[in-house]
C-alpha cells in the first residue's frame, strides 16, 4: 500500500506499528492482533470493518490507551505512549482521547449535563457542557438523568461527553450496536458533525458495511490483521445511509 498524495500532505495523529496482542487464557493462546500497522491522519474519519472476534476492539483499546500491546508501538503525535506508565496513559486519555462504546456507560446518578461536566471539569480547554450537548442535538435535555433518556439519546450524551474536552482523537466502538437503524443514524450524524466541525480525528468500529460509506477511509479487519484500506472518493452524509 503506497500512501496517497493527500495522505502525505496530512500529518499523522495516531499511529500503531507492528502491534500484536496475545491473551493467555487457559490452554490455548488467543492471538487477537497479529502484527497491525495503522495510521490515523489529522482530521479524517476512518471506519474499521470486520467480523466479530477479529480484533477490532482490542486494537481500539490499545490505540486509546486502555490496554497495552504484547509487542509493537503506539505513537500519539510525537509521544510514544506504549512505554508510558499508568499516569502517562491516564494523562493521554484525559486530555487527548474521547471514547464512545456500544454500551453508553453514563453515570446514572448524574444528569446529562453533569455527565458532560465530569469531563469538562478536568480538561484544559473544554467546551461548555451545554454547547457539547447542543452539538449532538440534545440542547433541550440538559437536566435529564440517564434513566429518563432513550438509548439513542444516552449514546449522544456519551458522544457529547467524549468530545466536550475537544479531544484530538475520537474512538467509537460499535456506537450503534445497541440501537435501531433510525436512532443509529442520529448518533452517526452527531459523530459526523463533530468530525467535520471540530476536525477531530475519528475512528468508528462497526460490522455494518453501510456505515463505511460515510468515512474518508475504510479499513477492513480480519483475524488480527489489516486486510485492506481504501479511500472513499466521496463521503456520504450519515443522514443518507440506511440499513
Amino acid at each position: 500500500m503506497s500512501p496517497s498524495i493527500k495522505a502525505e500532505q496530512q500529518s499523522i495523529t495516531l499511529e500503531g506499528r507492528s502491534l500484536t496482542k496475545t491473551y493467555h487464557t487457559g490452554a490455548v493462546d488467543v492471538h487477537a492482533l497479529r502484527g497491525v500497522d495503522i495510521s490515523l491522519y489529522e482530521g479524517e474519519l476512518v471506519v474499521l470493518l470486520g467480523p466479530s472476534g477479529s480484533g477490532k476492539s482490542t486494537l481500539l483499546n490499545i490505540l486509546g490507551g486502555l490496554d497495552s500491546p504484547s509487542s509493537g508501538r503506539v505513537r500519539f503525535r510525537d509521544t510514544e505512549i506504549t512505554d508510558g506508565d499508568e499516569s502517562v496513559l491516564t494523562h493521554y486519555r484525559r486530555f487527548h482521547v474521547g471514547f464512545v462504546f456500544q454500551f453508553y456507560n453514563l453515570i446514572p446518578s448524574l444528569t446529562a449535563s453533569e455527565n458532560v461536566s465530569l469531563v469538562t471539569e478536568i480538561a484544559t480547554d473544554p467546551m461548555d457542557p451545554a454547547e457539547a450537548l447542543t452539538l449532538v442535538g440534545l440542547g433541550e435535555r440538559l437536566g435529564h438523568f440517564p434513566a429518563q433518556l432513550s438509548g439513542g439519546e444516552q449514546q449522544r450524551v456519551a458522544i457529547a461527553r467524549a468530545i466536550a474536552k475537544r479531544p484530538d482523537v475520537l474512538l467509537c466502538d460499535e456506537p450503534t450496536g445497541a440501537l435501531d437503524s433510525e436512532t443509529g443514524i442520529l448518533v452517526l450524524e452527531a459523530i459526523e458533525r463533530v468530525n467535520r466541525e471540530l476536525g477531530t480525528t475519528t475512528a468508528v468500529i462497526t460490522h455494518n458495511t453501510v456505515i463505511g460509506e460515510m468515512a474518508d477511509r475504510v479499513i477492513h479487519f480480519g483475524d488480527g490483521h489489516v486486510v485492506s484500506s481504501e479511500r472513499n472518493a466521496t463521503r456520504r452524509a450519515a443522514g443518507e445511509l440506511s440499513w
Binding site: 476492539s57 483499546n61 486502555l66 490496554d67 499508568e86 499516569s87 491516564t90 494523562h91 486519555r93 484525559r94 486530555f95 482521547v97 471514547f99 462504546f101 454500551f103 456507560n105 453514563l106 453515570i107 446514572p108 446518578s109 448524574l110 444528569t111 453533569e114 461536566s117 465530569l118 469531563v119 471539569e121 478536568i122 437536566g143 438523568f145 434513566a147 429518563q148 461527553r161 445497541a178
Partner: protein, 802 residues
C-alpha cells in the same frame, strides 16, 4: 452453562454439577469477602464459646475441688468451747462430720519485709489430714507430732515471700514471740480467696494462712481440750439453715457469733461473687456480640447476593426453579458461615481454655476441668447460620421472584430525580464526583444507613468492652482516694477500751488516729434479711469518712443508721423506716433502729452508726476494735516495728497496698477477658468496613471503570468509593459512641452485686480509642479496596452490558 441435571433432580442435596462448579468458583472469586464475613461470624461465635466454656470450666473446677478436699458446708466460730460439745453437735440431724479446730490471727515478722504481716493460724491434727477442708500439699510435708514449731504455709503466701520448707520466721502468738519453721506448702479449698480481715482483695504479702499442729496451738492459747472454730459436713439433701439453727443454740453460751452456710464463707463468697460476675459478663457480652455479628453478616450477605441478581435471572431463564436457585445460594451462604463458625469454634475453644487457665492460676486451683459443653458450640453455630441464611435468602427470594428477563436487566434502573438537596444551589458548589457520592447516598439511604449502623455496632461493642477500665478506675478513685483519708487501718485482737487510742496516738509517725467498731449483725425488714456488719465511727470523722459516690461527705447522725443505697434496696428500706438489728456478737442485743440517711458506695454494702450509739447498743463503754491512722511516711519503719511488737494488733491494712492489690486483681481477671473482647470488636469493625466497601466496589465497578476511561486518575476514582465510605463512617462513628454508652449502661447495671456496683464511666479517651481503632480498620480495608481499584480491568467491565 450446563442445564443437564437441572430438570429432573430434586433440589435438596442433589449434585447439580454446573451450579456446584459455579458455587466453588464464586467462593473462590469472593475469597476476600468470604474471609471478612467469616471473621465477623467467627468473632461472634468465638466470644460466646470462649465465655461460656470458661465460665463452665470455672464452676466445674470449683465444685470438683471442693468435693475432693471436702470443703465444709457450715462454719462457726466461738470464743472457747469444750471438746465434749462435739458429741452433741454430731447428733444434730443432717450432720455427717464435724471438724473442730483452733484459729487465731498473729502478727508475723518476716526477714526482709518491713511492714507487719498478719498470719491466720489454723490448727490441723499432727501427722494427718483434717476430716474436712483437707489440704493439697504442694511441697514438703504436713506437721508431725511433737514439733510445735512446724508450720505449713499456704502457697500464695509462701510464693509472695519466696519461702520454702526449711525457712523460718517469727510470730507473735498470745504475747509470746515464737520462731516457726516451714515444713510444707499447701492449698486449701477454704482459702481460695485469701482475704485478710477488713480487706477487699487478697494481699498475699501482708496476709497469709498457715497450718500448725493442734497441740501447739492449744498450748499457745491455753485451749487445752477446747476449740474456737467449727466446720461441718452435711448429709446429702440437708438444709444448712436447719443445722445452723440447732448449732447456734448449742454454741450461744460459748460466745458463738452465729454459724454460716458455705455460701457465706468468706473465700467462697468472694469466689462465687466473681463467678456470678463472670456469669453476667459471659451471657450478656457475648449475646450482644453475637447479635451484632449476626446482624452484620445478615446485612452484608444480603447486599452481596443482591449484586448477583442478573445471574439469578439467567439461571431461571435456563429453567432452574426458585427452590433450586434458593438452595444454591443457601449452600453458598452456609459455606461462608461454615468457615466462620469453624474458625469461631476453634478460636473460642482455645481462648476459653486460655481464659480458664488464667483463672485457675489466679485462684491456684490444683486441678482444672475444661470440658466445654457441645451445646454452647451448637448455639453459636445455629444463631450465626440462621442470621446469615435469613439475610441472604431474603435477597435471593427478591431476585428469584422477578421474571427472569427483568432480573437480567440492570438492577432496577436507578432513577434519579431532582430532590430538594440535589437541585438546590448548594450542589452547584460541588464537583461531579462529590455529586455522585451524595446522590448515591440519597438514592439508597437504607443501604447507606446499614453501613453506618455496622460501623456504629463495632464502635459500640468496643466501647462497651473498654469502658470497664474507666469504671474500675472510677471505683478506685472514689472508694480509696476520695472516701478514705487514712493510710492504715489496724485491727485489734479483741474489743479494747478507749485508752488504746491514746496509745496509738503516741506511736511514732502517727498524725491522727480514730476509733472504729464493727460487729456482725443480721438485718430484718419485713420478710427480707441481710447478714452483714455495722461499723461504728466517731462524730465528724476526719479519716474514715462516709463518702457518697456522688461526691458528698455524708454527715453521720448521732443516732440511727446510715445505710448504703444497695443495702436499703435489698431490704426495701427508705429514710425514716425502722430496721430490726440482731447483733451476733457480745451480748447479742436485738434492737429496732431507724434509718436516718442513705449513701451510695461502689464496693460492699456497709451500714454506719455513731460509735457512741454503737457502744450503747452493745451495752459496752467506750470501746473499739479498729484504729484508723494517718501517718508520716518518713517514720513508717519505726511505726511498723512497734506494731509488730504489740500483742493487741491482729491486722494491719495499708491503703496503698490495698489499691495496688485491687488493681492487680482486676488486671489479672476482668481485664484479660476484656482485652479479648476488644480484639474481637476490632475484627468485627474490619470485617464490616471491608465488606461494605468491597460490595460497593462490585456494585459500582462499571461506573468507576468509565471514569478511568474518561481520564480520571486512580486517586480520583478512589475518592468516589472511599469518599462515600468515609461519609458513612463519619455518620457511624458518633452513632457508635452513643450506642456504646447505651450498651455500657446496660452492662454495668446488669453487673450489680452485693460486692460491687459498677458505675458507668466512659472517658473521652475510650471513645477516642474505639473511634481510632475503627478508623484504622477502615483504612486497612480501604487500602485493600484501593489496591483492587488500581487493578480495575477497564476493558472487561466495559465489554459487558450493564
Amino acid at each position: 452453562m450446563e442445564v443437564e441435571g437441572a430438570a429432573h433432580r430434586t433440589p435438596w442435596g442433589d449434585p447439580v454439577r454446573a451450579l456446584n462448579k459455579k458455587l466453588v468458583r464464586n467462593l473462590w472469586k469472593l475469597r476476600g469477602q468470604v474471609l471478612a464475613i467469616a471473621i465477623v461470624i467467627a468473632s461472634g461465635v468465638a466470644v460466646l464459646v470462649m465465655s461460656l466454656s470458661a465460665l463452665q470450666a470455672l464452676t466445674e473446677t470449683t465444685e470438683a475441688y471442693y468435693e475432693r478436699q471436702r470443703f465444709g458446708e457450715v462454719f462457726a466460730s466461738v470464743k472457747r468451747a469444750p471438746q465434749r460439745l462435739i458429741e452433741q453437735i454430731r447428733t444434730i440431724p443432717g450432720v455427717r462430720s464435724v471438724d473442730h479446730r483452733i484459729k487465731y490471727l498473729a502478727t508475723l515478722s518476716i526477714e526482709g519485709f518491713e511492714e507487719p504481716v498478719i498470719g491466720q493460724l489454723v490448727s490441723i491434727p499432727e501427722g494427718a489430714q483434717p476430716k474436712l477442708n483437707q489440704l493439697v500439699l504442694r511441697e514438703g510435708r504436713l506437721v508431725s507430732p511433737g514439733h510445735p514449731d512446724e508450720v505449713v504455709l499456704s502457697e500464695p503466701f509462701a510464693d509472695a515471700h519466696g519461702m520454702q520448707p526449711g525457712d523460718s520466721f517469727q510470730a507473735l502468738m498470745n504475747s509470746n514471740l515464737r520462731t516457726l519453721t516451714v515444713v510444707g506448702v499447701a492449698l486449701s479449698p477454704e482459702y481460695v480467696y485469701t482475704i485478710g480481715p477488713g480487706a477487699l482483695m487478697p494481699d498475699d504479702h501482708r496476709f497469709g494462712v498457715m497450718w500448725i499442729g493442734r497441740e501447739a496451738l492449744e498450748a499457745a492459747y491455753d485451749l487445752d481440750g477446747a476449740f474456737n472454730d467449727l466446720s461441718l459436713g452435711l448429709l446429702h439433701g440437708t438444709n444448712p439453715q436447719d443445722v445452723i439453727e440447732r448449732l447456734d443454740q448449742l454454741l450461744e453460751r460459748y460466745g458463738g457469733t452465729g454459724a454460716i452456710p458455705r455460701a457465706e464463707q468468706i473465700s467462697n463468697w468472694f469466689l462465687m461473687n466473681e463467678i456470678e460476675m463472670q456469669k453476667t459478663m459471659s451471657t450478656i457480652l457475648p449475646t450482644i456480640f453475637l447479635a451484632v455479628a449476626a446482624f452484620l453478616s445478615n446485612m452484608v450477605l444480603g447486599r452481596l447476593i443482591a449484586t448477583d441478581r442478573s445471574e439469578i435471572g439467567l439461571m431461571k431463564a435456563f429453567g432452574y426453579s426458585n427452590r433450586q436457585v434458593g438452595w444454591h445460594y443457601a449452600k453458598l451462604v452456609m459455606a461462608m458461615a461454615g468457615v466462620g463458625i469453624i474458625l469461631g469454634w476453634a478460636a473460642g475453644a482455645w481462648l476459653g481454655r486460655v481464659n480458664t487457665e488464667i483463672y485457675a492460676e489466679f485462684y491456684r486451683f490444683p486441678l482444672l476441668i475444661f470440658r466445654p459443653d457441645p451445646g454452647v458450640f451448637a448455639i453459636g453455630a445455629m444463631v450465626s447460620l440462621i442470621a446469615a441464611l435469613a439475610g441472604s435468602l431474603g435477597a435471593v427470594r427478591r431476585a428469584a421472584n422477578l421474571p427472569p428477563a427483568e432480573a437480567m436487566m440492570p438492577p432496577a434502573p436507578p432513577l434519579y430525580r431532582k430532590t430538594r438537596i440535589s437541585g438546590s444551589r448548594f450542589i452547584l458548589w460541588l464537583d461531579q464526583p462529590t455529586r455522585i457520592i451524595l446522590r448515591q447516598i440519597v438514592r439508597a439511604p437504607f443501604k447507606a444507613l446499614f453501613t453506618s449502623i455496622g460501623i456504629a455496632c463495632s464502635v459500640a461493642v468496643m466501647i462497651m468492652a473498654l469502658q470497664w477500665l474507666d469504671s474500675i478506675e472510677k471505683i478506685v478513685d472514689v472508694f480509696f482516694h476520695d472516701a478514705q483519708r487514712q493510710d492504715m487501718m489496724v485491727g485489734l485482737v479483741e474489743t479494747q477500751s478507749d485508752t488504746t487510742l491514746l496509745e496509738f496516738r503516741r506511736m511514732p509517725g502517727v498524725l491522727a488516729a480514730e476509733p472504729m467498731r464493727a460487729a456482725s449483725v443480721e438485718f430484718h425488714a419485713g420478710t427480707r434479711t441481710h447478714r452483714g456488719a455495722i461499723e461504728g465511727i466517731p462524730d465528724d470523722p476526719q479519716l474514715q469518712r462516709v463518702y457518697d459516690a456522688g461526691g458528698r461527705v455524708v454527715q453521720l447522725p448521732p443516732e440511727g443508721l446510715l445505710l448504703s443505697t444497695a443495702l436499703a434496696e435489698k431490704l426495701n428500706l427508705d429514710i425514716g423506716d425502722r430496721v430490726q438489728v440482731d447483733v451476733l456478737e457480745g451480748r447479742r442485743p436485738k434492737r429496732t433502729i431507724p434509718v436516718v440517711d442513705l449513701y451510695e458506695t461502689y464496693i460492699g454494702m456497709t451500714a454506719y452508726m455513731n460509735i457512741d450509739a454503737f457502744n450503747r447498743m452493745m451495752g459496752e463503754r467506750g470501746s473499739l476494735e479498729y484504729v484508723t491512722l494517718l501517718v508520716d511516711d518518713s517514720r513508717l519503719p519505726a511505726l511498723y516495728k512497734e506494731l509488730k511488737a504489740l500483742p493487741k494488733v491482729a491486722a494491719v491494712t495499708l491503703k496503698d497496698a490495698a489499691v495496688r492489690e485491687f488493681n492487680k486483681t482486676m488486671a489479672e481477671t476482668i481485664l484479660i477477658y476484656i482485652s479479648f473482647f476488644a480484639a474481637f470488636a476490632c475484627a468485627l469493625g474490619f470485617g464490616v468496613v471491608y465488606n461494605s466497601t468491597r460490595i460497593a466496589l462490585s456494585e459500582r465497578g462499571r461506573e468507576l471503570a468509565t471514569l478511568r476511561v474518561l481520564g480520571f486518575h486512580r486517586g480520583e476514582i478512589s475518592y468516589i468509593l472511599l469518599g462515600e465510605a468515609g461519609l458513612l463512617i463519619l455518620v457511624g462513628l458518633p452513632l457508635g459512641v452513643l450506642t456504646g454508652a447505651g450498651l455500657g449502661w446496660f452492662m454495668t447495671s446488669a453487673m450489680d452485686s452485693e460486692l460491687y456496683r459498677i458505675p458507668l464511666v466512659i472517658k473521652a479517651s475510650t471513645n477516642a480509642i474505639a473511634v481510632l481503632v475503627t478508623l484504622a480498620a477502615t483504612l486497612l480495608s480501604a487500602a485493600v479496596v484501593r489496591n483492587r481499584l488500581d487493578h480495575l480491568d477497564l476493558i472487561a467491565v466495559l465489554k459487558t452490558r450493564e
